[in-house]
Symmetry: C2
DNA sequence: GAAAGTACATACAAAATTGTATGATACCGA
DNA sequence: TCGGTATCATACAATTTTGTATGTACTTTC
């Protein structure tokens, strides 16, 4: 990354970097998506109910909503088995898998830097 | 990362990974923080008004709130010059700089994967 | 002496996100 | 026929996040 000291101009590099960051942020931000992706990265394939058990505190409403958004952004695949009772599995898509190193780094950074003194 | 196929148990690795991710998410999530950090990473040191100009669309209320949160999480330093008119500069702290490779990867991933068809 | 710049603060309102409660479906076992 | 299971859907409410408008202190510029 380069430095441009001009007071009021933003160069193309910066705009693009920010653009990329903004998109990444838009598909990952929120309270649950990163955790969902992390579990799927770790366990390859999980049923709806398994995800629900792992994501302590999430409501079914949120889980479904976030799974849908992740599908819409093509980060995960939904595999529905037409059985009774129904069985639905989720796994990372190729695009989702391409986030692997970012997720791992975020996990490591978090473990290293997590502090206890967070109020609010 | 390892795989544990047990239906209802989460192993320590997963919990810690998720814990780390959760912390990272908590300090980075939201609409503006990543962009603020990206600009500071790129330009090293920026005044309040320079940040405001770069973050198109942000309100002063949000900018200040987010700068405060980033300070509270020790990701940025605030350098206040006791002059008139006031001059305040912001820069990444060491902890903030340690996010560099994550930020760069997120920018690259976003640039590569950004799609145009995002409604909602 | 009125306006404008700088880095904020504060009250209020709108919008987005998340949570709660309940229902739907479709089958199986008792 | 009643209850149980699994994967959602839907109405509604609470909470959190974000936006708008305005004010402040001080000084330089017009």
């Amino acid at each position: 990354m380069r430095k441009t000291a001009s007071t009021n101009t933003i160069n193309k590099e910066q705009l693009e970097a920010n653009c990329g960051i903004a998109y990444t942020n838009s598909v990952l931000s929120g309270r649950w998506k990163l955790s969902i992706l992390a579990f799927l990265l770790d366990e390859k394939k999980l049923r709806y109910s398994e995800l629900r058990n792992r994501l302590t505190g999430i409501s079914e409403r949120m889980l479904i909503a976030k799974l849908k958004e992740l599908q819409a952004d093509d980060l995960i695949n939904r595999i529905s088995h037409p059985e009774v009772p129904p069985r639905v599995e989720y796994e990372l898509s190729e695009k989702g898998k391409s986030l692997e190193s970012i997720l791992i780094q975020m996990a490591k950074w978090g473990t290293k830097n997590a502090t206890k003194n967070r109020n609010t």
